[in-house]
């Protein structure tokens, strides 16, 4: 998966083409292996990988951010 990094986006557009997916299955206790060959960095990037509960959106159900790096803010990595 990747975002479009070629086009010039018109100001009137909804935004840059990108992809966002969520699993159809849910897991209570598990080991997730996410194998990434590359993760974008730099201005305006927002690569993310997170879990969320099925009981509701944060803060009702909870959300755990495993990767969340906006632009150059490495401090968004949750450790």
């Amino acid at each position: 998966m990747r975002a479009d990094d070629q086009s010039i986006i018109k100001p009137s557009a909804r935004g840059r083409d990108s992809v966002r997916i969520s699993s159809q299955n849910a897991y209570e206790e598990a080991i997730f292996v996410l194998d990434l060959a590359h993760m974008p960095t730099g201005c305006a990037t927002w690569p993310s990988f997170w879990t969320k509960s099925q009981t509701g959106p944060w803060p009702v159900g909870g959300e755990v951010d495993i990767i969340e790096g906006t632009t150059l803010r490495l401090s968004r990595l949750p450790f």
């Binding site: 206790e29 997730f32 927002w46 450790f79």
Partner: protein, 170 residues
């Protein structure tokens, strides 16, 4: 009130199958999750540590929904947790995970990637200026494609035939 504990684990000390580590193309993350809350607002390490962490700790064990933290007074509903306690507890919690056996339940490889996931096209809830596209549009625009790895690839073969053995963890 659920909460979470984050710990970092050197994969070499987890006694994972070597091919699981070397078979990965890049960074990977391990998570042992239950329903909980993020600590992203309260856990901060000095930025100077990050290069070292990336070099030495390629995997991160994440254990959360550890309600006893709250009962012990080490955490509260606003998710403030003392990092010194966090470091100590992450060690004991990692050892809690040692006794558990994990089996492969789901995997997506190659074009499996295009099944089993919802492709979300709504506006970004975080108000990012982004146009999330459907799977069909992503594929036609070459924004998503499956990388074919043969089942004999060590990464998958070892996951299929081995459960995670933490017995060598020290």
């Amino acid at each position: 009130m659920p909460n979470c504990v984050l710990g970092h684990v050197d994969p070499a000390r987890l006694n994972l199958p070597p091919s699981l580590i070397t078979g990965c193309l890049g960074s990977y993350f391990l998570a042992v999750p239950r329903i909980g809350r993020s600590l992203r607002h309260t856990v901060h390490l000095p930025l100077a540590l990050y290069p070292w962490l990336y070099q030495h700790l390629r995997a991160f064990l994440i254990v959360y929904d550890y309600t006893p933290l709250v009962h012990l007074g080490l955490a509260n509903s606003t998710m403030h947790v003392n990092f010194a306690f966090l470091a100590a507890l992450s060690l004991s919690l990692s050892q809690r995970a040692i006794g558990k056996t994990f089996y492969l339940k789901d995997q997506w490889r190659g074009n499996d990637f295009f099944q089993g996931w919802n492709w979300e096209t709504e506006n970004d809830p975080s108000h990012g200026r982004v146009n999330y596209v459907s799977q069909g549009e992503a594929r036609s625009k070459h924004l998503a494609y499956g990388t074919i790895l043969l089942p004999s690839h060590p990464f998958f073969a070892r996951i299929l035939s081995h459960y995670m053995d933490f017995s060598g963890w020290r």
